[in-house]
């Protein structure tokens, strides 16, 4: 089984705003596109033009309904690796292929050591692991490690592909270990949460919950303007300023 490094002060991760996500799948496809040619390439697609196509995706968007009636809402929930502080997918790995970087906390797979046993995918409660049946190795979100430190890119592009492309600006990237980072402040101000904290894997990523929508006053209505014999038209000209 594989050891974890000591806790890193730097905890790179994503903050995803569920109040703003429209479920457009831009992040999922842009992730697939970038990573198809990146360090974990390819993101193999089985039966790409046949029945039951099945490809490797590091980021998937689930759309579902929550609540009924007036309480009901439709939620779009993007899901990728949470780069947990104590990830079971790493500790369960029999070969050391699955590892967590000491420097920034990113969880990666060393394909040279991966034997494709899939224990990590069983261990991950978030379903973030993606097995490549063609190459026989496990793959996963790298937090675009080949973008965020990439000196061939301009600074603004050194963010994960999903963040760079999100049309509504619902995805944010930064150091969640730094309480003053913009992502930490977002989490603080919006009540960001980690999914399934009770499992104690300590996800680094955070979701910003949908903002509460205060129940509008049902009584709100416009008062009719006083009318004269001509009704509305009797006073309309008095509304004119000149």
């Amino acid at each position: 089984m594989t050891d974890l490094p000591g806790p890193s002060p730097k905890k790179l991760g994503l903050v995803i705003d569920l109040d703003t996500c429209v479920g457009c799948h831009a992040c999922a496809v842009h992730c697939k596109e970038w990573n198809s040619g990146g360090v974990a390439a390819p993101l193999t697609d089985i039966a790409p033009y046949g029945a039951d196509p099945d490809g490797v995706w590091f980021n998937r968007v689930h759309s579902f309904e929550s609540g009924r009636g007036a309480e009901g809402r439709t939620v779009h929930f993007p899901r990728s690796c949470h780069h947990c502080e104590t990830p079971a997918c790493v500790t369960v790995c029999p070969t050391g292929a699955s590892y967590k970087r000491a420097e920034d906390g990113i969880v990666l797979v060393n394909e040279d050591l991966c034997i494709g046993c899939k224990l990590c995918s069983w261990a991950c409660p978030y379903g973030a692991r993606e097995y490549d049946y063609d190459s026989g190795v496990m793959k996963k979100c790298t937090l675009c490690i080949d973008r965020i430190y990439n000196e061939a890119l301009v600074d603004e592009d050194r963010v994960p592909a999903c963040v760079a492309t999100c049309p509504v600006g619902a995805r944010h990237f930064g150091d969640l270990g730094d309480p003053d980072s913009h992502v930490s402040r977002l989490v603080e101000s919006r009540g960001g949460y980690a999914p399934m904290p009770e499992l104690d894997y300590k996800p680094v990523n955070r979701y910003l919950p949908p903002r509460s929508r205060p129940a509008p006053s049902p009584a709100a209505a416009l008062a009719p303007a006083p009318t004269d014999a001509e009704g509305i038209l009797g006073w309309i000209d008095r509304l004119l300023s000149r």
């Binding site: 705003d17 479920g23 457009c24 390439a41 196509p53 439709t74 760079a164 509305i232």
Partner: protein
């Protein structure tokens, strides 16, 4: 243990080329990165005015679109029966010779026997001009199917329109009303804007029968019953009027609210605007109560009535409008019953609108000068904006519903003011724009160009394209009494009319990027039959020749006789022209190009090149030099640079003039494409700061627009609450004038050419249909797909590979249906078999599904057992293209009676459980054969492995 070294600083590729996306209609700027000539990565261009660096799911899947095995590989000639998909590969010489033989013969005899209709065409400035040069009036793109009633409503009301022709003031608006399905047009700009509203805490209200997509993040979702939006809007208008919460100054200054309308019932001038002897618009002077010309400084009244100099009575538009809005049918309670939205909610929304508009005006500290020369110290506006799209457009009452939305905007002072809805250049135009359609018998002559442009804006019966007998001049019957304001033509009626030789026979149907044999038709099953019907006597096809151009093996390919294979969007020159549908924003005019990123690896040619080539071979006037040689030997790229529509006005507005020093107008610049190429493939020309609001009456804006060639002159453009052109048609239906509708159209024209906005039930909503077919059935296009293109895309089809029919949980319970049940869905026209999915976020009287996912077996080079053909479906089979027969047997087209817009959202259905399900959607059709030379479908796709392997080998 030590961590492995992870390569972190690899260059993306070895080359980057900028161009414009074509994965939908947005036209975002993209950077295409190449490695060893293969496409490594496509990303949004941060500097681009449309997408500001973001890219959607479709755009990000461009690689798979480009390398799709569904790409056609060579020109094809049909050898089997139409619809079989049996083709013989031919070279371009034979293909062009065949096309020229057919088209040349037509042009020599009767040019209108060519019908040229395009689909997702972004080169309409070329294709419409080409049709004119050929001499046929039978041209249009697919706008009649898509949203012409909204476009026309805008052009006849506010001189602009929704979708990409305007935008909410995203930075300032406080309250945003979103009508219908907006996810499919203008998608990245809307998403960027919604993100801004959410970040600022502005309120978003979505009015949509379905709670998906943008509706999911709205602060309030109103699950309205389809086709009743106009009723809701009119009820909101009534509430605001009754409370006096309207912007009276705005109405008096910017709209025709004070204009006097002649009240002379039964007479030919009834309902027309009152003019003085000099032809000036008259208003009722507030001080004297007497008519006075509308001049700067006039003090018009919005109420009362007055006697004109000749004794006729007249009333201000606003007085008529108030009477209309206060009709009983527009009461909140009545609207609540029909829309399904509680009365208290409607009242509250009205109150919130009033509060957002009037409690705190939105102010931009920017002095400006109006067209009368008056200086205004600041720009004061209303923080209410609206956007509308499908769900308004595809109903038979959509023209008036859209007019009603514009009315609501005007009551609130919420068009072209800070915080509200802003119009984008080159709009606003005069209302309606001055161009009239051409196509009368005298304008269509052998070997002559058409005497004008095929599409335009009629303002009365005299502008209709009908011959002396009243018979339509166009094959789609646009601009006839069937559809007088058919500003985008009637794509959806071409095949039926051509098959029926009604109003006349054509010889060749030329289509481009239009999947008419599948999802771009109502009555798809019937359309397939019409395409293959033969003449009883001769045994020949009733539509003698069909030429089709597409880049992919779409369903329509199988129905053509000659296939001209197009390139992908990454293999071509294109222009996103100000003469067509530009990429402007409210602060600028902008246009763009596509440039070839990679060379085609198949025997295919860009359709625009082929069109210009054919035009030159046919000797079309604009396409050859006096000596008969081709005028644009460099084909489309040459045309983009050198063609002038008017002196100094060409396809692209940037870098004009011999040295590229001019914008808007200027002589052609031979280096223009190079200039675009080196400037991110777009040109953006900013509107002066003082010209950015109140464009209808803003002198700074209009002087700039005249310089740019958008307007002919500076002058007020009054928003038209009351539409006189509509009244002119109505008068004809009331037996005035010498051009009157025939009996079968008279009643409809009289009823629906109402000069004021109104609501009526969609035509399918009769008492009978409500009983027998109690549910509405509509579609939405998913955000990750665009029309039928997406289903061949290896990545996108993993997101949407099949579709279900979505139904409200309680409705299902009442019908004894459960999740995953297979059901028959029947309309008065047909039946399909599909699988159910239950949900809560849908109007209980409505079922819906995703659009364009279902595929015909064998098409698009998908495997015969692909989900798209087994478990995907289209509801087009249920939608009749005609309304039921009237008493006399006459059948109107299933369209909006004003504009001819296809009414495919009017559909009503009933749903019954299938006793024994065979787990396959019905109907099924014979599998299409694959044309020769199509590549094999890979069983495993390892795209990108080569990039990694190369990078690793270089380390």
């Amino acid at each position: 243990m030590t961590e492995p070294a992870t390569p972190q600083s690899r260059p993306i590729g070895d080359r980057m080329v900028q161009t414009t996306c074509y994965m939908c209609a947005c036209r975002c700027g993209i950077k295409v990165h190449l490695a060893d000539g293969r496409i490594r990565y496509i990303e949004g261009n941060r500097a681009h005015p449309v997408n500001h660096g973001v890219l959607c799911a479709k755009g990000s899947a461009g690689i798979m679109q480009h390398y799709s095995p569904a790409r056609l590989a060579s020109p094809l000639k049909r050898v089997g029966e139409r619809g079989s998909g049996e083709f013989r590969e031919i070279g371009w010489d034979e293909a062009l010779a065949t096309a020229c033989e057919w088209l040349g013969a037509i042009r020599k005899s009767d040019p209108k026997r060519l019908a040229f209709f395009t689909g997702r065409d972004q080169s309409q400035a070329l294709t419409s001009w080409w049709a004119s040069q050929f001499g046929t009036p039978n041209y249009a793109a697919h706008g009649g199917f898509c949203s012409v009633n909204m476009a026309a409503a805008g052009m006849y009301t506010i001189g602009g329109s929704f979708w990409e022709f305007g935008e909410p003031d995203w930075e300032r608006t406080k309250y945003f009303l979103l009508f219908g399905v907006a996810e499919d047009h203008e998608s990245n700009p809307l998403k960027i804007g919604l993100g801004k509203l959410k970040a600022r805490g502005a309120k978003v209200v979505s009015i949509n029968p379905v709670r998906t997509g943008y509706s999911a993040i709205a602060d309030e979702w109103l699950g309205i019953r389809p086709g009743t939006d106009g009723l809701l809007v009119m009820a909101l208008a009534q509430e605001l009027l009754r409370a006096g919460k309207i912007d009276a100054d705005y109405l008096a200054s910017y709209t025709n609210a004070p204009w006097l309308v002649i009240h002379n019932p039964g007479k030919p001038d009834d309902g027309l605007f009152a003019l003085d002897e000099a032809g000036k618009t008259l208003i009722r002077d507030r001080a004297t109560g007497r008519p006075a010309p509308l001049e700067p400084g006039a003090m018009p009244s919005l109420s009362g009535e007055c006697v004109l100099a000749d004794g006729r009575m007249a009333k201000p538009v606003f007085a008529l409008l108030v009477a209309r809005c206060c009709e009983a049918q527009y009461s909140v309670d009545n609207a609540a019953a029909a829309t399904g939205i509680p009365a208290a909610t409607i009242r509250r929304i009205a109150s919130e609108l009033a509060s957002a508009a009037f409690d705190a005006p939105v102010i931009v500290e920017q002095p400006w000068i109006d067209v009368a020369g008056r200086r205004h110290e600041r720009m004061v506006g209303r923080g209410v904006s609206m956007h509308a799209m499908r769900g308004i457009s595809a109903h038979s009452n959509g023209f008036h519903t859209c007019r009603a939305i514009h009315l609501l905007q005007m009551l609130l002072g919420a068009i072209e003011t800070p915080g509200s809805f802003r119009i984008r250049a080159p709009y606003p135009k005069p209302i309606p724009p001055g161009l009239k359609p051409a196509g009368l018998p005298g304008q269509v002559r052998p070997e002559q160009p058409l005497g004008g442009a095929p599409l335009g804006y009629p303002t009365g019966p005299e502008d209709l394209l009908i011959d002396a007998d009243g018979s339509p001049c166009r094959i789609d019957k646009a601009y006839s009494w069937d559809a007088p304001l058919a500003a985008h033509g009637l794509f959806h009626m071409v095949i039926r009319n051509a098959r029926n030789r009604d109003p006349y026979a054509i010889d060749t149907l030329l289509m481009f990027m239009a999947n008419a044999a599948w999802n771009t038709s109502m009555n798809t099953t019937g359309t397939m039959k019409m395409l293959t019907d033969r003449d009883d006597a001769s045994g020949e096809y009733r539509i003698p020749h069909i030429i089709y151009s597409d880049a992919y093996y779409s369903e329509m390919v199988a129905y053509a006789d000659l296939i001209l294979p197009d390139t992908t969007y990454l293999e071509r020159w294109d222009c996103i022209s100000l003469l067509d549908r530009p990429i402007c924003d409210a602060d600028s005019a902008a246009d763009a190009i596509r440039q070839p990123v990679v060379a085609p690896d198949r025997d295919v040619r860009p359709f625009q090149d082929v069109l210009i080539d054919i035009g030159a071979r046919l000797g079309l006037p604009g396409l050859v030099n006096p000596d008969g040689s081709p005028r644009y030997p460099g084909l489309y790229a040459d045309y983009i640079v050198h063609h002038e529509r008017a002196p100094g006005i060409g396809m692209l507005a940037g870098w004009r003039g011999a040295r590229g020093e001019q914008s808007g107008r200027g002589e052609p610049n031979p280096q223009q494409l190079e200039a675009y190429s080196s400037h991110d493939c777009f040109s953006r020309m900013e509107i002066p700061a003082a010209g950015r609001f109140f464009k209808h009456i803003n002198r700074d804006y209009q002087e700039w627009a005249v310089r740019m060639g958008f307007l002919d002159r500076v002058g007020p453009i009054a928003l038209q609450l009351y539409s006189e052109p509509l009244q002119r048609f109505r008068l004809a239906a009331q037996s005035h004038g010498n051009m009157q509708p025939p009996p079968e159209h008279r009643e409809r024209v009289a009823a629906y050419f109402d000069p004021l906005p109104l609501w009526y039930a969609p035509f399918e909503e009769s008492a009978d249909s409500s009983t027998e077919f109690p549910l509405h059935a509509i579609t939405q296009r998913p955000m990750a797909m665009y029309h039928s293109w997406g289903s061949q895309n290896a990545w996108l089809r993993q997101i949407h590979g099949e579709n279900r029919l979505y139904m409200h949980r309680e409705t299902a319970q009442k019908l004894g249906l459960a999740d995953d049940d297979w059901v028959h869905v029947s309309s008065r026209h047909g039946r399909i078999t599909v699988q159910l999915r239950l949900m809560d976020g849908v109007n209980p009287r409505t079922v819906w599904t995703w659009n364009g996912i279902g595929k015909r077996r064998g098409a698009w080079n998908l495997a015969p057992d692909a989900e798209e053909s087994r478990r995907g479906f289209i509801i087009n089979h249920l939608i009749d293209d005609l309304l039921p027969p009237r008493g006399d047997g006459f059948r109107h087209a299933n369209v909006d009676p004003v504009t001819g817009q296809a009414a495919w959202y009017d559909l009503r259905v009933k749903i019954e459980k299938v006793a024994v399900a065979n787990e396959t959607c019905e109907p099924q059709f014979p599998s299409l054969e694959l044309p020769p030379d199509m590549p094999e479908r890979p069983s495993i796709l390892r795209y990108g492995a080569q990039f990694r392997a190369k990078a690793e080998s270089e380390q």
